[in-house]
Amino acid sequence: MIQKKICMVGVFGTGKTCLVQQFVHSRFSVKYHSTVGVKIDRKVVPVDEGGEVTLLLWDLAGRDGHGDITVSYLRGAHGVLYVVDGTRRETFDQVFELRDIVEKAVGPLPSAVALNKSDLTEEWKLGKADDKALAARTWHQFTTSAKTGAGVEAAFAWIAREAVRQGSAPS
């Protein structure tokens, strides 16, 4: 079966681990644990025309005050899902810089942005101008909630499809 390595990238505490846990195990953790190194999960997902792909989900430790993301973990990635906490403006502001770091390390890859924690509507800090800023950079975006599951399947299904499509495109 085809395998595709998808890296989860973002600032600490944006919900990368929770998105993976919701997608793979259909569960949500209310307790925050910062990821150390990389946590790896797998899930088989259907792709176009009856095929399947195994997603290797590399949940990278988030950027924090102690250091940046470790680019050596990105080697061999087929796609990146950037995660923003929609209730923390600074996590959105930093996502563009994170994409620059990733693309400098491994080149352009299929990628999307998950604007996460959409269940926290009263604390939401992003608006239409931010949607436009992402669209202007031709960045596919999903509004997600790891807590309710909203948008989660769609985000991973899109990145899976794009990773497969890019992998099968003639070079």
Binding site: I40, T70, G76
Partner: protein, 272 residues
């Protein structure tokens, strides 16, 4: 990269048997040159030895001799399986890396099946925790089941690489318990995932280490009595792996030694 590694296990002060087991192993793929008309220096660069360091701790569950048998069988089975798969330790490329992790996980699944088959006749099988770290170059690959832990000291900062697979952690994560409830509950430490048990869910991860970092694998006999700040202080000393392991063991025994205690300490040296 040079690695100074040392392991210790102790029955502790309360238990009659030691149900913990550990192993430190080096897995090699090498070509030993006999005679050749080729220039040795040229050839050496092409057939250089590659090696992976394997560290495993396991804490048996089941009382009497059952737990001891389970942890021993798990470590032995895993080592046998990994040895058979040693070919994939050579220079891990992107594709091989995933295969390597799958093989480590498969080794644990094989141990799980063997314990259930060979030790579970006539009832519930004894089981064991198992925490494994495989060091290939600077990258440590981790597979973990249960509540034995892996830590590393990163520039003086202690980082826990594993999360306990216990009832307390599970219910805290689910929001069903508060920290206070978990601290009081007798069942908080019950394992929800063990090798050989009814449920087994290996957790897989990796971390890139740097020269000077210290890796620690331990059973809960250490962490019941030695708090993280103490562990960090001991790991941060400019001592050999054996001295550090001994000091951690002494602290756990001085703290009560209520359980079997096992520690593996691996200090990463220079990249020479």
């Amino acid at each position: 990269m040079s690695v100074d590694a040392f392991g210790l296990t102790d029955t502790g002060k309360v238990r009659e048997n030691n149900e913990d087991h550990f192993v430190i192993a080096t897995l090699r793929k090498a070509v030993d040159l006999g005679q050749t008309s080729l220039e040795n220096g040229l050839l050496a660069g092409r057939v250089r030895e590659s090696a992976a360091q394997l560290f495993v701790v396991a804490d048996g569950v089941g009382g009497h001799t059952g737990g001891e048998l389970a942890s021993g069988a798990a470590v032995q089975c895993l080592l046998e399986y990994v040895a058979q798969a040693a070919g994939c330790f050579h220079d891990l490329g992107v594709d091989q890396e995933n295969e390597f992790l799958e093989r480590l996980e498969a080794g644990i699944h094989r141990a799980h099946e063997r314990i259930q088959r060979e030790l579970g006749a006539g009832g519930e099988a004894p089981s064991t925790t198992l925490t494994l770290a495989a060091l290939v170059g600077v990258r440590a690959y981790l597979v973990h089941v249960g509540d034995s832990r892996a830590y590393y000291l990163d520039r003086g900062r202690l980082r826990q690489l594993t999360r306990d697979q216990t009832m307390g952690e599970y219910l805290l994560d689910a929001g069903a318990w508060t920290e206070e409830t978990a601290a009081r509950a007798r069942t908080a430490g019950n394992l929800i995932s063990t090798v050989g048990g009814a449920e087994m869910t290996p957790s897989v991860g990796l971390v890139d280490l740097s020269p000077g970092d210290v890796l620690l694998l331990c059973t809960d006999g250490l962490t019941k009595h030695v708090a993280d700040p103490q562990i960090a202080e001991v790991l941060g000393k400019d001592n050999s792996a054996s001295q550090i392991a001994r000091e951690l063991m002494d602290l756990a025994l001085a703290g009560g030694g209520s359980d079997n205690i096992t520690v593996i300490v691996a200090k990463l040296g220079s990249s020479e």
